[in-house]
Point group: C2
Amino acid sequence: MIMSFDRLIEKIVKTQNPTVVGLDPKLDYVPDFLKKKAFKKYGKNLKGASKAILTFNKGIIDEICDIVPAIKPQAAYYEMYGYEGVKTLYKTVAYAKKKGMFVITDGKRNDIGATMQAYALAHLGEVFVDGEAYEPFGADALTVNGYLGTDGISPLLSECVKRDKGIFVLVKTSNKSSGELQDKELKDGNTIYAEMGKMCEEWGKDAMGKHGYSSVGAVVGATYPEQLAEMRRALPNTFFLVPGYGVQGGGAEGVSHGFDANGLGAIVNSSRAVMCAYQKEECDERDYAGAARRECIRMKEDIISYLPRIAL
Amino acid sequence: MIMSFDRLIEKIVKTQNPTVVGLDPKLDYVPDFLKKKAFKKYGKNLKGASKAILTFNKGIIDEICDIVPAIKPQAAYYEMYGYEGVKTLYKTVAYAKKKGMFVITDGKRNDIGATMQAYALAHLGEVFVDGEAYEPFGADALTVNGYLGTDGISPLLSECVKRDKGIFVLVKTSNKSSGELQDKELKDGNTIYAEMGKMCEEWGKDAMGKHGYSSVGAVVGATYPEQLAEMRRALPNTFFLVPGYGVQGGGAEGVSHGFDANGLGAIVNSSRAVMCAYQKEECDERDYAGAARRECIRMKEDIISYLPRIAL
């Protein structure tokens, strides 16, 4: 059986690019010409904002889909524009998949039992209405928070196995205060994040892919290279999603600690630097997607310069 | 300044009812006559399902709004029906507020910095589109997961203070496996859940309400009465949301440990037992909302029988 991260890994090898573009589109990031057009057609409201964002996203996806393996839309930035924003999330996921990209919905969802199953069906599965099946959001993978333990993870695992999907569990996050809880030392000398990492390896045991990684990945921040190296050693079958490169301060040398000897085992995220590349370049805003592509290439070159040739 | 939980506490005192009805509406819970009507009008699809759920919710709200202080829609069950489901979440929140109820969106959201701010604005705040303000979801309170530390909580606190809102942070959840991580003992002898509880007290310090509770509440499960008592003693300024009563196995005597000497300090949730009361009663499905009301009264009487008279 092909597991979700096998598909992701194969796309990474093909593009020689272990990065993912975060689509976290605040309205401020959207060029004026797109906003004007959407506001004129739909009004200066949540619907107009959501439509402007969708066009913005599609433009970036068109421009990067041949060189970047995956996108990671962040649910918060879509919920921010109400149900119209959530519709844009749905349409963004569908569009990227049509263009051959792997889609990680960054929702950090968490709950228990039947409720977690509802999230699993919502984002990775299908829902039946009077016998007809529908994919509510249809992502390939979802970020989740494991604070609630196995009850919060099992419902996802069955979708992973059944439908070739993946999850990334928060282990060591990239933010400054992540240590307040995550770095606390347990009685046995382990930190809380290491304990969470151990649980990921455990959860992944029954969902192993053919390339050495299970369907249960982990989020480990680029801003903590030492912990990234520690987790890479401790969790040989856990694929990493690495946020915090670029704007948050993580560098390419640092993130290289998250990879294995084949240049695999991790995918590094960049959001704002790609979406707002046209502002940094100070190019014509109509070239926003071109600027995004140029930043993707720069980022890729930067990161792979510290890695062995990526190969299966 | 009146803080969010002051408003909730005043509603609890007025109704003498420290319970909240969880609106977690699977399509299976909706009576056939409502489904048939919605499917006929909107089709047997996610839209039809979402419209049936909205009508179902409104019927329950109409019937309980004079005797129950709050509802708690669970985001997962709305996302399960795609963006149409999320529109039903929005409309359910708005309808309950119009009827005078306090609305807790159960989303267990978590992220950092700007992204957490997007969630805060989405669920508790307002978002500006070209100078015009819109409330994307407009709840009174949101459940959140504190695994990421202060960076994930601060953006919520500013909404709480500015707009009279509240949050409930997961401390000790009601599920069987909650102990896998939450009960682990730290080097200093504290458990992880107790540490999380301590952080809630700390976060709430600058958002104290006039009735002795801050805007930062905690989720502590009815299924762990001992820990509920322990947390009540340890966290004098933290208001509790207590899930797990009824179907999950928590009893009224057990949940009484979450309350203070005035019969305040906690609100107990019931979802399925209320929504599906008509199935258990085996009454006419057209009386589903009446059955929900009868179950609410039964639950209230059960819970307050173990409490002192609720008073400020």
